[in-house]
């Protein structure tokens, strides 16, 4: 059974790229446009991993990570945040919120797959 990964980003092009890459590698992908959308879609879905942007409207990445970790079903799933080099403090915040790791933007498809393999197996 293929694993399901949720990609959360307000940028359609980033979602597109992440989704394309992951589907190509055999994963099932669920897309969400922001934190709020993600929280709605995650309940009841068999999501094995979340890849989220940090800067998003409605509910941002940090908030989303905290919220997901609070859900019993997703307490231990890997969560990867997309950051930029300049967001070191945000990265720390994300980590203390419960993020598993991060990918620095811009990134290449095989970097993405490398990180997914690292945390999801």
């Amino acid at each position: 059974m293929s694993k399901t990964i949720m990609t959360v980003d307000d940028s359609a092009s980033v979602r597109q790229m992440v989704s394309f890459t992951l589907k190509g590698a055999g994963y099932t992908v669920v897309e969400a446009v922001d934190g709020k959308d993600a929280l709605t879609k995650i309940t009841g879905a068999p999501v094995n991993m979340v890849i989220t942007d940090l800067n998003m409207p409605n509910l941002d990445g940090i908030g989303l990570i905290r919220a997901i970790r609070a859900l019993p079903d997703f307490k231990f799933i890997p969560i990867i945040m997309l950051t930029t080099e300049s967001q070191d403090t945000r990265k720390q915040e994300g980590k203390s919120a419960g993020a598993t790791g991060w990918i620095v933007k811009p990134f290449k498809p095989d970097q993405l797959l490398g990180v997914v393999k690292k945390v999801l197996g």
């Binding site: 190509g24 231990f76 980590k95 993020a99 598993t100 498809p109 797959l113």
Partner: protein
């Protein structure tokens, strides 16, 4: 060495390495075609491409690096299971392989590379990548120039040292709450290098006190890798705040201690901080094993001792592995070997002179020294010869490709099976054997193996088989090429030979003689010429080449069942056992391998046979060549001469000489250019006293006498 020289040397090594890799690549591809699911083979193809690309770029072969990159990328995808192995992919990669070879040859002054073809092949690969996952086509072109930073690191190009690290990975209890699975990290470490991993669980309390959502285990890891400490740190990059990761170098360069000493168990435990020095001192010197005592005394626990023991074992294994690869082989230019063989040859000659001189002195001390030198010389000679020996397997694997291409061209289905690939032969023999073998295999596939439907109709498997066997037989190597094709048709061969004017219509030939007709110049049995083997030249060239190697060709065939061609070759070309003979003041050497016996020839014998160069050797008629006449040696023939009876291809021919001196170990020297065309002489050797002896080319001389033979033979019978 200036940097330019260094670069040139590097290029040289690259070319050599690339050629080996291309051979390896080819055999891996052909095996892969048979086992498309074998990931190990995919890995081999990938690694070959990867190395060609990496080293190519380093030495300025940018075109090769660029070209190879596409193939590598494709096989990386195959390796990741993203693209299946198809016949199309194999064909394309074989083409690419040939193109890379052309590029290498072009850089060596070979013909220009067909750029259009390179482009064609590359677009072929792009198509393969695009077809299987449209989206990744974009991805791969984006990543074409660099590699991921967080994913697996590529091994640095060139020689990096192999280092063994001791890693203690102790995660914070709340590790799981970050979504981290420590086991994935351990697996990642295993990809970095050879890892021995031991879990330490003493911190886990009894069940009632245990919070199962905490990680209370830590790990002792011994890791040997050439990727450097950063590759290890990268594994833990996401968890470095949450975990204690202690990395210590316990060995650099893969050599543990100059004096081959492993760290003792106590030392390992001590350096890990698992025991204190005082405790250790207390138990050392007791008769029991240190580990057992430490555990008994409660100084440390079993799992720490187990972990230290595992480290000991790991290091031992790495060391053994290193020793194995260190001693496995050493690359030396073949000219150096040739020079060595030459020198040994000279030494053998000088040694013979020494022995001879010593006999004249009859001095006991000198004699024993001389004998010692003789023994050492022979040993040195045998060793030197064995260095030049190579397994024939590399040649065999080349034929796999040949056969594949041939059968595809001819619409036949043929398998190649081999036996005795490990059989060793002199390097020069192997090189010179290539063309004859190509000819024979071509013939087997073209003329021997039938079309699949013909085979099925004949009740055979639709797949033909060509079986190559190599094996030792005394001082010779036998190479057999066996096919299960339609076999040789005696009547057809005979008719053809008559038609070509090779034999007379009323000639009476044995089966063997008829089969041998295919080695006659200008003979072709196929109904029409094919592009594969019908090139006018063929089996006659094979025979000549094999004879030039002082070998023989034998052919057996059964109609409808198949044909077997057997090549008999000497183990080495540099030294032969010969029979030393004398004609007037000239010395000749006849290779001992063809000598059958020596008989006397008196003036009466000659008269009895009416001067007809025929002798009666115990009732059998044997034609002979008078060496004196053939090589125009002056002087009268002695009353009693010697006939050295030789046998080549079941034909017995005598050589008449004045004296037979005895066996002689002959180091062959090539003749100068002036003498190269002298028929019947294959080389020269220097005798103990410095005299030159000529080595007779018996097969060539026999073929000369053959022409005279038939007429003389008939006259002899009527006489």
């Amino acid at each position: 060495m200036s940097s330019d020289e260094g670069l040139d040397k590097g290029r040289e090594i690259f070319i050599e390495e690339a050629q080996e890799l291309l051979t390896e690549l080819e055999s891996a591809l052909l095996e892969l075609e048979e086992n498309p699911a074998d990931t190990e083979l995919v890995g081999r193809v990938f690694r070959a491409m990867h190395t060609i690309k990496g080293s190519g770029a380093m030495f300025g072969y940018d075109d090769i690096a660029k070209f190879t990159h596409e193939v590598e990328t494709t096989f990386d995808m195959v390796r990741n299971g993203e693209i299946p192995v198809t016949t199309n992919l194999i064909n394309l990669t074989l083409m690419a392989r040939d193109q890379i070879r052309t590029m290498i040859e072009a850089s060596q002054g070979g013909p220009q590379v067909d750029e259009a073809r390179s482009k064609e092949i590359i677009s072929g690969f792009k198509l393969v990548m695009a077809k299987d996952s449209a989206e990744r086509e974009v991805a791969s072109s984006v990543t074409a120039t660099d590699t991921s930073t967080t994913g697996q690191k590529e091994a640095p190009i060139g020689r990096t040292s192999i280092v063994t690290y001791r890693v203690r990975f102790r995660p914070a209890p709340e590790l799981f709450a970050t979504g981290t699975n420590p086991i994935l990290l351990l697996n990642e470490l295993r990809e970095v290098g050879k890892a021995t991993i031991i879990a330490q669980t003493e911190a886990i309390p009894a069940l009632e006190d245990f919070d199962p959502e905490t990680c209370l285990t830590y790990w002792d890891i011994v890791l040997t890798t050439d990727k450097g400490i950063d590759a290890i740190k990268d594994v833990f990059i996401f968890v470095e705040d949450l975990c204690e990761v202690k990395i210590e170098t316990i060995d650099e360069g893969g050599v543990f201690d100059e004096d081959e000493r492993h760290l003792k168990l106590g030392e390992i435990l001590l350096s890990r901080g698992d025991v204190r020095l005082d405790d250790l001192k207390g138990v050392l010197g007791k008769q029991k094993r240190v580990g057992e005592i430490l555990v008994e005394l409660g100084i440390t626990d079993e799992s720490h001792v187990a972990s230290a023991l595992a480290e000991q074992k790991h290091i031992k294994e790495v060391k053994e592995q290193k020793q194995k690869t260190d001693t496995a082989s050493i690359r030396v230019p073949s000219e150096k070997l040739d020079k060595l063989v030459d020198l040994v040859g000279e030494l053998v000659t000088v040694q013979a002179r020494l022995s001879q001189t010593v006999t004249d002195f009859s001095d006991g001390v000198l004699m024993s020294i001389s004998e010692e030198v003789e023994r050492l010389t022979w040993e040195l000679r045998d060793n030197t010869m064995s260095i030049r020996m190579l397994p024939i397997g590399s040649t065999f694997s080349k034929f796999k490709r040949l056969l594949r291409d041939l059968s595809a061209d001819l619409g036949k289905e043929v398998n190649l099976t081999t036996d005795g690939a490990e059989t060793e032969l002199d390097k020069t023999v192997i090189e010179k054997l290539n063309d004859p073998l190509v000819h024979i295999i071509r013939n087997s596939v073209d003329h021997g193996i039938e079309q699949p439907d013909v085979r099925v109709a004949a009740g055979k498997s639709r797949y033909g088989t060509v079986h190559l066997t190599a094996g030792h037989s005394g001082a010779n190597v036998l190479i057999q090429i066996q096919d299960d094709g339609k076999g040789l048709d005696k009547d057809v061969l005979f008719a053809k030979a008559v038609e070509k004017g090779i034999i007379q219509p009323d000639a009476e030939l044995s089966e063997k003689e008829i089969f041998s007709l295919i080695f006659a110049p200008g003979f072709s049995t196929a109904q029409k010429l094919t592009s594969v083997s019908g090139r006018g030249v063929g089996m006659d060239v094979v025979k000549r080449n094999i004879e030039a190697l002082r070998g023989t060709v034998d052919i057996k065939s059964k109609l409808g069942v198949g044909t077997t061609i057997t090549l008999k070759l000497p183990l080495t070309l540099a030294i032969i056992d010969g029979l030393l003979v004398k004609v007037a003041d000239d010395f000749f050497v006849i290779p001992l391998s063809v000598v059958q016996e020596c008989v006397e020839l008196t003036k009466e014998d000659i008269a009895r046979m009416h001067n007809r160069h025929i002798s009666n050797v115990r009732g059998a008629i044997v034609p002979y060549i008078v060496v004196r006449e053939h090589f125009l040696v002056d002087g009268p023939r002695p009353d009693v001469e010697q006939i050295v009876v030789t046998e080549v291809e079941d034909k017995r021919v005598g050589f008449v000489v004045d004296y037979v001196i005895g066996e002689h170990q002959t180091v062959i020297k090539t003749l100068g250019r002036i003498y190269r065309d002298v028929e019947g002489i294959s080389g020269a050797t220097i005798l103990g006293d410095g005299t030159v002896a000529l080595i007779m080319d018996i097969p060539k001389l026999v073929s000369v006498v053959e022409k005279i033979e038939s007429s003389s033979y008939e006259t002899a019978l009527s006489a």
